[in-house]
């Protein structure tokens, strides 16, 4: 064996060693093991591939789009069915739907990622802290959660737009604000189930601070459920943005935000189904991809190593 292969196998052995010498080795080893679990799951990998593809399409939209997304001819190219020229047909302003989908993927990805990044951590923290601490902390946090949950979502969204003005960015914030409470309740429910478990007791006996227990031990166990919920939410988030668009709170025309495209296609559903179906299918693909990805992440992240 030459030194190179020895080095290669050496790395893998080092990562997969049963008796790690340092914390860093253990952590890296866990990440590597997680990656291998993930990679073995073909569906999860395909989800990842689709997501990466989407990101690429979003980045290269100007190059890939055959027609300009904001211009159309009312008389000549209005409401054309899918054809070899217009792959997904044209909309009510005569614009090519495929091109609009490509440009819209940027907005859509931005919306779901931002909302996920904003809402999930908030929900996770609030839920685990409430579940673990109990007592009046739990009561207060849960009442706050209740207040947010109990709000008809429209009211909050409208208030936000009133304060910040219309536009897709403010719509994102409004959606995030209404999205975190369910995550909090789920995290809390899981926390309640496991807080009296033995391993928690043992860490408590070792003198770990409550904050450490929550972040290092309880949260990782709740993360998987929250991730599943978040990935399932992707579609819902995009459609909520569409719903806000009905009230004039979302993307401003002529932005090709997918939700707005669906809302606009509403009038034409019976005779020109492709106007709403194309962005609808796109949303489905995105949520499927994130869903597969999320499941794969869940399995990989699960410290109990589900088999």
């Amino acid at each position: 064996m030459n030194t190179n292969t020895m080095a290669a196998t050496g790395w893998r052995d080092w990562l997969m060693s049963d008796a790690p010498q340092s914390r860093r080795q253990a952590t890296l080893g866990r990440w590597y093991a997680g990656w291998r679990t993930f990679a073995r799951n073909r569906l999860a990998v395909s989800g990842l591939v689709i997501v990466l593809l989407l990101v690429l399409l979003a980045i290269f939209a100007p190059v890939l789009a055959p027609f300009p997304p904001f211009e159309g001819d009312l008389v000549k190219t209005r409401l054309l069915p899918p054809s070899t020229v217009h792959w997904l047909g044209t909309d009510d302003q005569g614009r090519d739907i495929y091109s609009r989908l490509l440009y819209g993927s940027r907005i859509t990805l931005m919306v779901v990622i931002l909302v996920a990044i904003l809402a999930a951590p908030i929900g996770l923290i609030v839920g685990t802290v409430a579940g673990y601490a109990g007592g009046w902390v739990d009561a207060v946090l849960m009442r706050v959660t209740d207040i947010f949950l109990a709000f008809p979502r429209l009211i909050l969204a409208l208030a936000f737009v009133a304060a910040l003005g219309p536009g897709i960015e403010n719509a994102v914030i409004a959606i995030a604000i209404t999205s975190w409470p369910p995550y909090a309740r789920i995290a809390r429910a899981e926390t309640l189930s496991i807080r009296r478990a033995d391993f928690i007791a043992s860490v408590q006996l070792m003198g770990a601070s409550p904050w450490r227990i929550v972040t290092r031990h309880i949260m990782p166990l709740c993360v998987s459920s929250v991730i599943v919920r978040v990935t399932l939410d992707m579609a819902g988030i995009i459609l909520t943005a569409a719903g806000l668009g009905f009230l004039g709170l979302g993307a401003q025309p002529p932005m090709p935000e997918w939700g707005a495209m669906i809302a606009a296609g509403r009038q034409y559903v019976l005779d020109h189904w492709w106007v709403a179906a194309a962005p609808g299918a796109a949303i489905f693909l995105v949520s499927l991809a994130f869903n597969l990805l999320g499941d794969g992440l869940r399995d990989a992240l699960d410290p109990k190593g589900v088999k």
Binding site: F70, E71, G72, D73, L74, V75, R78, L79, D92, Q93, P166, G245, F246, L247, G248, L249, G250, Q252, P253, P254, A263, A264, R266, Q267, Y268, V269, L270, D271, H272
Partner: protein, 535 residues
């Protein structure tokens, strides 16, 4: 309890139950009752049933079927006036007094007799309550203090005194409006609270004498009209008319195609094209007294330049819009008087001409265009027209940013004059040219705190000369001369106004082919459902 924990069993139970229920009912009968007309329409704008307060379009139609008035106009020829509750009328020589003789033997639906006293009371009540549509009467010099004296009953006649000698057709046409409906004085006074003349009660009740009476109004759900057996004229051909609130056009269409609705009122151009080939469905349409327009706020530095105003008028693709976005539901029209009103002009000089617009813009000092915003309601056809305008204006360098909003939001901004461009509609309140001239071509006071806020004011368009012309036309008693005056105003308006009038609205109703005599009126209160016959 345990057995229900077996989900497979639970599942089968649910399935069994559903199937059982489905089995018990017959397939839905796809026909409406023989003696009932079912109309599906979007009518979430109804706020009150009191004719002295009501002004929304949906309610207008209901008032037109349920309440009588002194006079009505002939739907076939709107310039002709027909007696309703009044047997005849005479106008004094100076034009300041009209005397109406009331028919004998009329009754309200409640059984109370309809007398001149009720007529006078109704008109006085509208003025005293002073709600939104009261201006139609108060513009003739009537107010809370003097109305009891100026509008009075004496025996079988009603005397109507006005402050100036307005064109009699103007005054009479105003008396055809819903605000001049005849209400049951005895009934209302019996329901009075705190001297409100029955206002609180009539908001959700009925006190009229028309061919149909209002049985029920469930907000955003249903309005039911029933045949009034004590109506003094030709009785209604159907026993009931039920208006169902169905907001979604596609849903209306499905109901109509299936026969679960007789008349659908809000079908889109696409829907109308699609049902054209259906043997069971016919269509009828009428030009309404409504126009859709874009308006440019004169407070904006660029928009206030006359060349810019003119340039913008060349940047709308009228013909494309006419062929597609408003097909069947509108006709391109570039004047503020809708066709059908006395003096309306059908001169439509503007076409899409980007080159000309660019030249005009350069002359005004904006060779590279400028940025501007437009407040738009996220409703068709406003959205379609706005998006199209955005594209065509861009070719001349004008970047339009669309600010979407819902109806009330955009309206508030408009009334506060904080918009740049606004797209909206305006319609006739009564069938006389003054109704639109009053708002488009009159601006008595352009100050921020003005009492009146006509559309011209909302766009800060200061027009002392045109205001004078509009005022003069109000008093011209010779119809031919009056027509010329309005033609003249419209010619000036087309050239200089900050209004880009886009089209006149066509109201279209699609209905089952077993209906006869359905005709839509030019104003909402002239669509007479009681004349419809169901074979």
């Amino acid at each position: 309890m345990r057995i229900l924990q077996r989900p497979s069993l639970r599942l089968s139970l649910v399935c069994a139950l559903s199937l059982a229920m489905l089995a018990t009912m017959a397939p839905a009968q796809a026909a409406t009752p023989k003696d009932t007309l079912v109309v599906v329409t979007a009518m979430d704008d109804i706020v009150t049933l009191d004719p002295a307060e009501s002004f929304e379009i949906s309610a207008g139609e209901i008032m037109g079927n349920a309440y009588d008035r002194l006079v009505r106009y002939d739907v076939a020829d709107p310039s002709k006036l027909l007696p309703d509750v009044a047997k005849s009328w005479t106008v004094s020589a100076d034009g300041k007094t009209i005397t109406f003789e009331i028919k004998d033997g009329l009754k309200f639906a409640s059984g109370n007799p309809l007398t001149a006293e009720d007529v006078a009371f109704s008109l006085q009540r509208a003025v005293i309550l002073g709600k939104t549509p009261a201006f139609i009467l108060t513009q003739f010099g009537l107010n809370k203090a003097n109305v009891a004296e100026k509008v009075r009953a004496s025996g079988k006649t009603v005397v109507f005194e006005i402050d100036k000698s307005y064109a009699p057709t103007l005054v009479l046409n105003c008396l055809t409006a819903n605000v001049a409906s005849i209400v049951d004085k005895k009934l209302l006074m019996s329901k009075e609270q705190n001297g409100d003349m029955g206002y609180a009660w009539l908001k959700t009740n009925y006190a009229g004498s028309g061919p149909m009476k209002i049985r029920e109004w469930r907000a955003n759900e249903i309005v039911t009209l029933e045949k009034n057996d004590s109506y003094w004229g030709a009785k209604s051909k159907v026993n009931r008319v039920i208006y169902r609130h169905v907001k979604e056009a596609a849903t209306q269409r499905l109901l109509l195609e299936k026969g679960d609705a007789d008349i659908a009122r809000n079908l889109t151009p696409q829907d109308l094209d699609a049902v054209a080939s259906n043997k069971d469905i016919k269509r009828t349409s009428t030009s309404k007294g409504y126009v859709i327009y874009l308006s440019l706020n004169q407070k904006h530095p660029a928009l206030s330049k006359p060349e810019v105003r003119e340039a913008m008028k060349y940047l709308l693709d009228y013909s494309a819009i006419g062929q597609t976005l408003i097909k069947n539901i509108g006709t391109i029209h570039q004047n503020f008087l809708p066709v059908g009103l006395l003096g309306a002009s059908t001169d439509n000089p503007y076409k899409l001409d980007v080159e000309r617009a660019k030249q005009l813009l350069a002359k005004a000092g904006y060779p590279n265009g400028f940025k501007v915003t437009i407040d738009m309601r996220t409703v068709q056809p406003y959205q379609g027209i706005t998006e199209s305008f955005q594209q065509t204006a861009k070719r001349a360098g004008i970047e339009i940013e669309i600010i979407p909003g819902d109806g009330k939001q955009t309206l508030a901004k408009y009334r506060a004059r904080t918009h740049d461009i606004y797209i909206g509609q305006w319609g006739a309140d009564y069938w006389d040219p003054h109704t639109n001239a009053d708002t488009f071509a009159r601006n008595p006071n352009n100050a921020d705190d003005a009492k009146d806020k006509p559309l011209a004011w909302r766009n800060s368009w200061d027009i002392p000369e045109m205001t004078k012309k509009s005022d003069t036309a109000m008093f011209e008693r010779d119809a031919a001369k009056r027509r010329v005056m309005y033609q003249d105003i419209q010619a000036d308006f087309r050239k200089t106004s900050p209004f880009i009038v886009v089209h006149q609205i066509n109201e279209v109703a699609a209905f089952r082919s077993n209906l006869e005599e359905l005709k839509l009126g030019p104003t909402s209160d002239a669509t007479y459902m009681y004349k419809v016959n169901k074979r």
